[in-house]
Amino acid sequence: MTAHREEYLDLCAAVLAGSVDEADRLELERHLAGGCPACERALAEMSHGIESLAAAAPPRMPSPRVRERVLSVVRAEAEAAGGRARPASAAARRVIELPSRPRRAWPEWALAVAAAILAVATFAYWRQASVLDGQLRGARERIAQVARELAEERAWAAVPASPGARVADLAPLPSGVTLPRVRAIYDPGSRRAIIAFDGLVTPPGADFELWAVLPDGPRSLGVVRADPSGHAEVRVPDAGEPALLSAFAVSLEHEGGSTNPRKPGGPVVLAGTLKS
């Protein structure tokens, strides 16, 4: 650990405010690696200041839909996981007393050998328990991950089946290139959208870019690239407010897409309005 200096307190403040320069962060990390009571105390004290600073923004409530969406994801994952790891119950840790046995006298050397065997066995048991514990933790994490993926897939499968789903078949505009067939499905309830491309052949040195059309202009949903069969599916977790999202469009861009995520750089070659 480097010796404490007053300047380190300034770096603690910068870290908390989220504005520390990289070189300073590394220097502070080196300093704190061995522990520094003065800096640790300052970090604890100034963290209260940060909580206060956040409250400088006027408190606001988001749309109730945010709460609904968060809780629907959480509940689906909790249900799929069937609850995460819970502490072992008291009953599972109950100790059963064994009846006592008459003792025999053992020579000292035998006791020493027995103690050595016990020590080796204990160490081996501890190592095995550690390995098993790690494997169990890994298995739990994998199960939770699979459960999350399953819940996510279910949510996407619900998009086309949603009673309020809106569809847009994107119509080709004059472009001089072979255009894909594109259909967009948008669920106003979850704000998810799935856009399917077929017959997608990207001209050399170019890329097709997908756009959501909103009142304040288009918003890029990214460059679309097909698999070898010419198929692509774009999943958009939040395509926008139902009252605002009106259409989808596809532009033909230089390779890599438009440099401006709010404006196509090339011509719009496909467009379609969402219909109920």
Partner: protein, 186 residues
């Protein structure tokens, strides 16, 4: 029971997989988190996306909260702010962020009536405390926390030496702590 104790109990239940615990935390802290996120990203649709991601992250990584390293609120604020700053730094937000310089107009906006009286009172106390700081100290704190600028960027923005910006940041945080005391853990 203090708010901090309620939060810690919620975190214990969250780690055990209880969705109701997240619901309680959401209702208790969303006005603070959403106000902060909205101040950073500037637009309600972006702020709602960021907030939604942050709460789902809270659910999925509850076990990473370490009570030794700070309060639940501090952890929630860190998760939400880092996402908000990422959004702010995206190409789409860059031009607006530089123009807004920390969003003075949002700062001046009135709290929403739907936010609880406790949140509104805390906000008023903090605004009043910030008013007691020097204008440069206040500007430095706001540029750091809400505009996501580094200390070097702030120094060049306000035209002050880097060392001065660093000490203003520390003095500002210490002063805020003194002016707006928070409840201590029981």
């Amino acid at each position: 029971m203090t708010d901090q104790e309620l939060d810690r109990r919620c975190m214990d239940r969250l780690r055990a997989g209880d969705p109701k615990a997240l619901e309680e935390l959401y209702d208790r802290h969303t006005p603070l988190l959403y106000g902060m996120v909205l101040r950073i990203v500037g637009r309600a649709p972006d702020a709602e996306e960021v907030l939604q991601d942050a709460w789902i992250k809270v659910w999925r990584s509850a076990e990473t909260w370490d009570p030794e390293r700070g309060s639940v609120v501090a952890w929630l604020l860190t998760l939400a702010r880092s996402r908000a700053i990422d959004r702010l730094r995206s190409a789409a937000s860059r031009s607006r962020a530089e123009g807004a310089s920390g969003g003075e107009e949002t700062m001046a906006a009135a709290p929403e009536p739907a936010a609880s009286a406790a949140h509104r009172e805390l906000h008023e106390r903090v605004v009043s405390a910030l008013g007691e700081l020097g204008s440069k100290q206040r500007e430095v704190l706001e540029l750091a926390y809400f505009a996501g600028l580094s200390q070097s960027e702030i120094a060049s923005r306000v035209g002050a030496p880097l060392g001065t910006v660093k000490s203003w940041t520390r003095q500002g945080l210490m002063r805020l702590r003194a002016l707006v005391p928070r409840e201590e853990p029981a």
